[in-house]
């Protein structure tokens, strides 16, 4: 199954992410030049929280911060489908 997914940011930017590459969503956003928020990059500070408006993500590291419904932590997840996020 293909691991390449489309990520739509704030309804305008679109990028493609290959989830099998081991890059987190945060790294993918940075590579696309989008300057996402971050602090710990380790799943506990919650600074990289983005709204996940559609699609699913998989966590490659266990996040410690509370993930409110409709949010995801970009620093420790990869897309599991085409997703739309707001930051």
């Amino acid at each position: 199954m293909s691991q390449v997914f489309k990520v739509k940011v704030n309804g305008q930017h679109q990028l493609t992410v290959d989830a099998s590459q081991g890059n987190t969503l945060l790294e993918a956003l940075e590579q696309a030049g989008l300057e996402p928020h971050y602090h710990c990059r380790n799943g506990f500070c919650g600074a990289c929280r983005v709204q996940l408006t559609s699609g699913d993500v998989t966590y490659i590291n266990d996040p410690l911060a509370f993930i409110r419904p409709g949010d995801c932590l970009a620093c420790c997840c990869v897309p599991a489908s085409d997703i739309e996020i707001n930051q």
């Binding site: 928020h37 710990c40 509370f66």
Partner: protein, 376 residues
């Protein structure tokens, strides 16, 4: 109901609420109602560090070369942080341990407080290096008006909860007169006080440290006071973890994943909780004003610092379900991030660039395929 250090009733900790249920008896961690606290304990322990590991001897030379206004900024921040960690090193234990009801949270509270005492010890380590006799600095913490104002706000919710818990544990529910004042003690009141207390601690861990962190890292950006900055990085990493725990508690309540009564209280006291946060933000801005009253420092001024407080407050408030109240959506101090990245914190040379260095860690599972590349 009086507190027992070992509750002899048979209880199922998986069915207990986080607070105000049966007191904990067996400290067992094989099963957890809220496993996140167990994970927080493991993470925090893996972060263990000692202030003496960080060499601060060069800081003395740097400090002498600072301008008077910069010295004021540096020392005032250390005083404020000493106050914060003095409170945090004891209060979670005194206020929360008597009412906690699940073992993993009980141990998390103890672990959390213990790390705050490491922070307190590190301020002594820094100050002892800068001054032959640091007494004057420590003594000013209880005299200085600006610090006093903050101490009040920080400790009042703890003190209130502690006092009512004591009344409840010695007299039970009812109306009690103490020193001529009437106090109504019932479970609902106690839970409200707990809710406000956790919100006040959350605001403390979320924004109160960050003005001083920003100043410290601004010095480090100029290659000044680097020993101090190394220590503050370690402290910032720990504080982030502590913040996660209070955010977890608040969210678990809000989403009804713990005590259903706490969900009601969270809705009832939403405005008050918001006010606690906004007051903390306002106080931090006033603190920034106090710091820069004698002049600013290179790379940082009052306005930038206030913008940073707003930026970080937006983020922290969204994490517990409030709307972001400030316009500041971009990071006004982008260089701060490199000091806050957990993986960049250097603990000891052999541990550089890794998050948690486990002593003697080995992989005990070896499968035949691991040896696939070997040829004889």
């Amino acid at each position: 109901m009086s507190y027992s250090t070992f509750n002899k009733n048979q209880i199922n900790p998986l069915k207990e609420p986080m607070f105000f249920g049966n007191s904990v008896n067996v400290a067992r961690y094989d099963q957890q109602k809220h496993s996140v606290f167990e994970k927080l304990i493991e993470k925090q322990i893996s972060f263990f560090w000692r202030p003496e590991e960080v060499d601060v001897s060069r800081d003395r030379v740097d400090f002498q070369a600072l301008t008077e206004s910069e010295k004021h900024i540096f020392i005032s921040n250390l005083k404020y942080q000493t106050l914060l960690d003095s409170v945090q090193g004891r209060s979670p234990n005194i206020a929360l341990l008597p009412i906690v009801s699940i073992p993993e949270l009980e141990t998390w509270i103890e672990t959390w407080s213990f790390f705050e005492t490491i922070h307190s010890r590190s301020y002594t380590h820094i100050l002892r290096n800068l001054f032959t006799d640091p007494s004057e600095v420590f003594e000013d913490i209880v005299i200085n008006e600006e610090i006093q104002k903050r101490a009040n706000d920080i400790s009042q919710y703890y003190d209130d909860l502690i006092f009512y818990t004591q009344l409840w544990q010695t007299h039970g529910e009812g109306e009690w007169e103490v020193d001529g004042e009437m106090h109504t003690v019932n479970m609902r009141e106690l839970k409200k006080k707990l809710f406000l207390c956790i919100n006040s601690v959350n605001a403390l861990e979320a924004v109160r440290f960050y003005v001083s962190f920003a100043c410290t890292f601004a010095f480090a950006e100029r290659d000044l006071m680097e020993g101090n900055s190394k220590i503050i990085r370690l402290i910032a990493r720990d504080e982030n973890l502590h913040l996660v725990s209070t955010q977890q508690i608040i969210n678990l309540w809000q989403y009804g994943q713990d005590d259903p009564e706490m969900k009601e209280i969270a809705e009832e006291l939403r405005e008050e909780a918001l006010q606690i946060f906004m007051n903390a933000v306002e106080q931090e801005k006033q603190w920034a004003h106090y710091l820069f009253r004698n002049g600013s420092m290179i790379g940082l001024n009052e306005e930038m610092l206030c913008q940073y407080v707003e930026y970080i407050a937006n983020m922290r408030m969204e994490a517990i379900g409030f709307d972001a109240p400030f316009k500041q959506r971009s990071n006004p101090l982008p260089w701060m991030n490199k000091y806050l990245v957990s993986d960049n914190v250097q603990v000891a040379p052999q541990e550089a660039e890794i998050t948690s260095y486990l002593v003697g860690q080995i992989d005990s599972e070896v499968s035949a395929s691991d040896l696939g590349d070997f040829e004889l």
